[in-house]
């Protein structure tokens, strides 16, 4: 019995363990100083944690990894573009961008939830394609409608041809305003206190949410849709709400992310954000059906350490900086692939186990 437990434990933590090893090997080779690493990881923690936390709710509702969190990211970007055209700066600008983004995210989340309800059993691939589809709509809005339909005044945002947004929109007036709101410096490591407070608040909200009626319903739906429906839960509605919440949080998370970056890459900032957030969460030991807040933070530390050290280590070993860059992209995808494979094999194992039990029960009944 004990032995199996060890095996299970090892399997559950195999991905984080692998990352600890990669980081432990690459970090000394890369030659980066520990204080630089600490600084980078703290910065990235503040930058990404909110986004990754937004993935937890759909996992709770059994909808798997929310690849369509990019929808929220796009809504956040639209909010920021508008706010920077209105010349609202600093923290008020961020708050206004969030207020603008929330209805857009909610609407997109609603759409996403409805579509996913039509594609039960293949939520992940569908949410993945949704993110591409909405990216088309986003480009339509940002590239053609902004200017003639949605007024954009400033020439540093608008393309010279008179419609559409430039490749990059500067957020200099907002850059790290939240991070530096409450300045704190411990041993040369700059800590974005205000950002961490917001992240902490979201953690509290998620913990609280799990205990509410809706949260309980969501978990019931995640465990077994049929049973949940029999016990009187409106399954479809619960699933839609989980998508809406996730998308709204992702939108706010994207605004926090971009205020740290200091500029928006209008057409590419959002495109890979879902992939990297999901990879980070999985590296933290989460699986497709189970993820906790602890996974988020462990994931950020491990994944981003790898992200920082891999290119440098790759350069040192092979003399080519691109190898390390490709390596970390490969690792991100490989981690997601492995997690998905583990999820599907587990699902099949459980299913066949349930089938065996059923057959056994039937045999007994026949006797």
């Amino acid at each position: 019995m004990n032995k199996i437990n060890y095996g299970d434990l090892l399997r559950r933590f195999s991905v984080p363990l692998m990352f600890v090893i990669i980081c432990a090997v690459c970090a000394p080779i890369s030659g980066l100083s520990p204080s630089y690493l600490c600084n980078e990881i703290v910065t990235r923690m503040g930058r990404n944690a909110f986004l990754i936390l937004s993935l937890l709710i759909p996992i709770m509702a059994g909808m798997g990894l929310n690849f369509s969190m990019t929808l929220g990211a796009m809504a956040g970007e639209i909010g920021l573009i508008l706010v920077s055209d209105w010349q609202i700066v600093g923290i008020p600008g961020m708050i206004l961008a969030m207020i603008v983004s929330v209805p857009i995210s909610a609407l997109l989340g609603l759409f996403c939830g409805k579509v996913l309800n039509m594609a039960k059993g293949r939520e992940m691939i569908t949410s993945y394609i949704i993110s591409f589809f909405i990216n088309g709509i986003y480009q339509l809005i940002v590239l053609y409608l902004m200017g003639p339909v949605i007024p954009i005044q400033h020439s540093n945002i608008k393309l010279p041809r008179g419609y559409g947004i430039r490749n990059t929109v500067s957020l200099l007036s907002m850059r790290q305003k939240l991070d530096n709101l409450i300045p704190l410096n411990i041993g040369g490591v700059k800590i974005p206190v205000a950002t961490f407070i917001i992240i902490f608040l979201l953690c509290l909200v998620i913990i609280w949410f799990r205990k509410t009626k809706l949260g309980q319903d969501m978990r019931a739906v995640g465990q077994d849709m049929g049973v949940a429906r029999d016990s009187g839960i409106d399954v479809e509605r619960t699933r839609i709400i989980s998508m809406v919440l996730s998308t709204v949080f992702a939108g706010i998370g994207m605004i926090i992310y971009l205020q740290n970056m200091g500029n928006i890459a209008t057409y590419s900032s959002h495109s890979q954000i879902g992939m990297f957030c999901i990879a980070a969460l999985l590296v933290g030991g989460a699986s497709v059906e189970k993820a906790s807040i602890g996974n988020v933070f462990l994931g950020i530390i491990l994944f981003h350490t790898m992200f920082i050290v891999a290119p440098k280590a790759g350069t040192v070993i092979t003399g080519d900086s691109m190898i390390g860059e490709y390596f970390r992209v490969f690792v991100s995808y490989a981690v997601i692939t492995v997690a998905l494979i583990m999820y599907e094999t587990n699902k099949r194992k459980n299913k066949s186990k349930a089938g065996e039990q059923l057959a056994l029960a039937q045999e007994e009944a026949n006797e």
């Binding site: 600008g93 207020i99 020439s155 393309l159 559409g164 590419s268 900032s269 495109s271 992209v329």
Partner: protein
């Protein structure tokens, strides 16, 4: 049942109104301006001080000799600044605190400080700064909407990835 429905409706409307109110407040307190300070002569003032120092929030943002211009990015509807005026070279300095309301519809605002100190009316010393798009701004740029564009860069602050 009906009562509770009414209650939620009221809550929702209240929440909506509160959010709208917050948004309105953000519009007011978050408006950013670029303020330009001029130490130049005008129709009103023929002789300008030797040097004017401008401090905002205790930080020196401009030190203007004759015919010079300084600038600062500020947020909100009012700008409170401290001016240190030196009338003549080596002469005494006069310190004063001035609060200047900023017109909402102007992104860039030019303040002619000598005229302001003279006590001229608002529209005589406040004018709009109209930025001329620079060459690089006016040049047509190719929009890159490549699907694979963002694959390689994630959270890299303008770190050149091309080796």
């Amino acid at each position: 049942m009906n009562n509770s429905k009414k209650k939620t409706l009221i809550y929702r409307i209240a929440a909506f109104l509160v959010i709208m109110a917050i948004a309105a407040v953000m519009f007011v307190i978050g408006r950013g301006h670029t303020v330009y300070f001029d130490n130049k002569s005008s129709d009103l003032v023929a002789e300008v001080p030797y040097k004017i120092e401008v401090k905002v929030d205790g930080k020196k943002v401009a030190s203007l000799k004759k015919n010079e211009r300084g600038m600062v990015d500020v947020m909100g509807q009012k700008l409170t600044m401290e001016l240190v005026v030196t009338e003549e070279k080596g002469g005494d300095t006069v310190q004063m605190k001035v609060t200047q309301p900023l017109p909402y519809n102007m992104d860039g605002i030019i303040l002619n400080i000598p005229a302001m100190l003279k006590g001229a009316s608002q529209d005589q010393y406040v004018s709009e700064f109209i930025s001329v798009p620079s060459e690089s701004d006016a040049a047509e740029e190719v929009v890159v909407t490549d699907d694979t564009a963002g694959l390689m860069d994630f959270g890299e602050e303008s770190e050149a990835s091309q080796g």
